[in-house]
Each structure stands twice: as structure tokens, then as C-alpha cells.
């Protein structure tokens, strides 16, 4: 049985095909249920993990093909220039509030993560892995390499941030009296990148556009802050 399984999965097509199938299924289920938290990525990720763990497919066999998909990382970073360019007019109209807000958010994220990890006695390697979690995956994975964290942990933390933003936004907006759509969108994108932006788009077009803008800017500001992080974390 294990031999047949190995025979079927030990090739470069296997990983690519099941990843495609899982993503397509995720999109379909998301469209059918319309629940933001159940986003295509989360559904696909959990079903792939379940398949690999339950059927006991060697992770190395899955990665044989799947690692080629990962090679798209630099391409996706380059293409982030496009949404930034498309939203330049919106950025232009409230340049200072947007940049000030995102910079404050990025610094809050870095500082609060360090302080809380120290308070809770979390080890250094995990701390470093949690820092780049507010930003979009390609930039987060680029960043975690720069500050020597574990990319797998960063990956989980990025997903956690996306999902948590969708759950906490209403009480947070109320608690901090955030009512302006520009502020709502920037706050969502800075905390919860693309997953949060999907929710922001449901809340309103301007909120969604601002959240989309914040994804790229928060990512760039966080990457720019990495010499600072290396300075704080010797």
C-alpha cells in the first residue's frame, strides 16, 4: 500500500496538481458559503494538510512539485507595484494621514511583539518569527529570512493575523472610536493584509481600496525597518 502511494506521489506533477485542485475547491466553497473567514487559501491549506497527514503522503513527495510554485515569490513581489500604482490618486489625496498611520501601526506591531514576547518569556527564535506577521506573505517570507526567524512559524502567524483581523475589527473600531472609512481601511490592511482586505471590500469600496493600499505600504515600511529590528534584537 505504502509502495503504491509512493509510486503515485513521487513525481513533480503530484504536488502541483493537488495544490491546484485544493485551491479551486477553496474558491468554490468560499463562493458558495460567502463567509470571509473561510477564505479559499485557508480551506485549501487545511485540506492539503489533512490529506497529507491522514493519507500519510511523505511531505518531501508533495514538495517535489509544490516547491516550483514557491519560486513565484519574487515575481509576486514585483507585481505589487501594480496595485500601488493604480491607487496612487487615493494615496495622493491623504498622503500624510496614511503614511503616518501605517508607520505608527508598523512600529506598534514590532515593539508590542517584542515587549509581549519578553513578558511571556517566549524564546528569541519564535519572537523573530512573529515580527513580520502583519504583512503580505511574499514580503513576510522575505523579511523573516532577513531577521533569522523560522519561515514556517511566520507563515502560520501571517494566516493568524489575517483571520484575527476579520474577527476583531468591529469591537476594535468601537473601542478606539475609528469611524472614518480611510482610517478603517488603513487599520485593516496594516493589521491583516489580504485576508483583512477581502473583508474591508465587503464593508465598503473606499475601505477596501485603502486596505489594499495599506498592504503594500505596510509591507515596504516593515521591510525598511529591519535594520532597526536587528539593532533592538542583538
Amino acid at each position: 500500500m505504502t509502495e503504491i502511494l509512493n509510486l503515485l506521489t513521487d513525481n513533480i506533477f503530484f504536488g502541483v496538481i493537488i495544490t491546484l485542485a485544493a485551491y479551486a475547491a477553496g474558491k468554490k466553497i468560499n463562493a458558495m458559503t460567502g463567509i470571509t473567514v473561510l477564505n479559499p487559501f485557508l480551506i485549501a491549506m487545511l485540506s492539503l494538510m489533512a490529506l497529507i497527514l491522514i493519507v500519510k503522503i511523505p511531505l518531501a513527495n508533495y514538495m517535489k512539485g509544490a516547491s516550483y510554485l514557491e519560486q513565484m515569490l519574487p515575481v509576486s513581489i514585483i507585481l505589487l507595484a501594480l496595485p500601488l500604482y493604480r491607487q496612487r490618486a487615493k494615496l495622493q489625496s491623504h498622503k500624510l494621514p496614511i503614511l503616518a498611520g501605517i508607520t505608527a501601526g508598523v512600529l506598534t506591531s514590532i515593539v508590542s511583539t517584542i515587549v509581549l514576547c519578553r513578558l511571556f518569556n517566549v524564546d528569541e527564535l519564535l519572537l523573530r518569527s512573529l515580527i513580520p506577521r502583519s504583512i503580505t506573505t511574499p514580503l513576510g517570507l522575505l523579511m523573516v529570512k532577513n531577521i533569522n526567524g523560522i519561515s514556517g512559524i511566520t507563515m502560520i502567524a501571517i494566516i493568524f493575523n489575517g483571520v484575527s483581523g476579520v474577527i476583531i475589527y468591529a469591537p476594535v473600531y468601537a473601542l478606539f472610536r475609528i469611524h472614518h472609512p480611510v482610517a478603517k481601511g488603513i487599520a485593516m490592511g496594516t493589521t491583516s493584509h489580504a485576508i483583512g482586505t477581502a473583508k474591508a471590500l465587503e464593508l465598503g469600496e473606499l475601505i477596501g481600496a485603502m486596505s489594499g493600499l495599506a498592504i503594500v505600504l505596510a509591507g515596504l515600511i516593515t521591510v525598511a525597518a529591519y535594520p532597526l529590528i536587528n539593532l533592538i534584537l542583538p
Partner: protein, 118 residues
């Protein structure tokens, strides 16, 4: 077909330019490429149409797809989380509330001062 080829060639050239810049200054090459693309679009050297309705939009719309492999690979590092995951969830939740709150408040504060100047 010609449009698609042009798009792929431009992306490949941008990638190569980023790698070259990375040899000269210590800066992530994919980010150099991104900033270069932004500059070329702003200065009008590249038209936005070069990148619309083709492979770039397809990738941008389905960005999450390419991150399934690193996410699935997490299976391998789950062991590290044993015993600490409750702490981590708590830390991330508190931090996220602060980040969202502070970001929104600062944006609003600056929007208000902007209005006062009008």
C-alpha cells in the same frame, strides 16, 4: 500572444535588473525590481496596459495560491509550537488589537489636522 510575450519578457527583465542591483547594493533584489517597475510606470516608460488583462492580473488575483506550499510545509514545524501556542495566540491577539487601534487613531488624528488647515 505578442502582448503576453511582452509581459513575460518585461517581468523577466525586471527580475534580472533587480538581481544586478542586488550585486551593487545590499538590498533585496525582488524589492528593487518592484520599486523599478513603480518608477517606470510613474515616468510613463512602461504603460499600465502592458500588465493588464494578462498573466500579471491572474497572479495578483490568485496570489494566495503560490503560498500554499510554504503554508503546508508548516506541518514540519508544528512541533516547535507545542506548549507555547496558547501564549503566542494571546501575544498576537493583544498586539493586533493595538496595531489596528493605533493605526486607525493616528490616521484619524492626521485627517482632522488636515481639515483644520483647509
Amino acid at each position: 500572444m505578442i502582448k503576453l510575450s511582452r509581459e513575460i519578457i518585461l517581468i523577466a527583465l525586471l527580475l534580472a535588473a533587480g538581481i544586478l542591483i542586488g550585486k551593487l547594493i545590499p538590498f533585496p533584489s525582488s524589492l528593487s525590481s518592484m520599486i523599478l517597475l513603480l518608477l517606470l510606470l510613474i515616468t510613463g516608460v512602461f504603460k499600465e496596459e502592458y500588465f493588464t488583462g494578462g498573466i500579471s492580473d491572474l497572479i495578483l488575483k490568485n496570489l494566495a495560491f503560490f503560498f500554499l506550499p510554504p503554508a503546508v510545509k508548516v506541518i514540519d514545524s508544528l512541533g516547535i509550537l507545542e506548549g507555547v501556542w496558547v501564549k503566542l495566540v494571546l501575544i498576537m491577539l493583544i498586539s493586533n488589537v493595538l496595531v489596528m487601534g493605533v493605526t486607525g487613531m493616528v490616521v484619524q488624528l492626521f485627517l482632522k489636522t488636515e481639515k483644520d488647515h483647509d
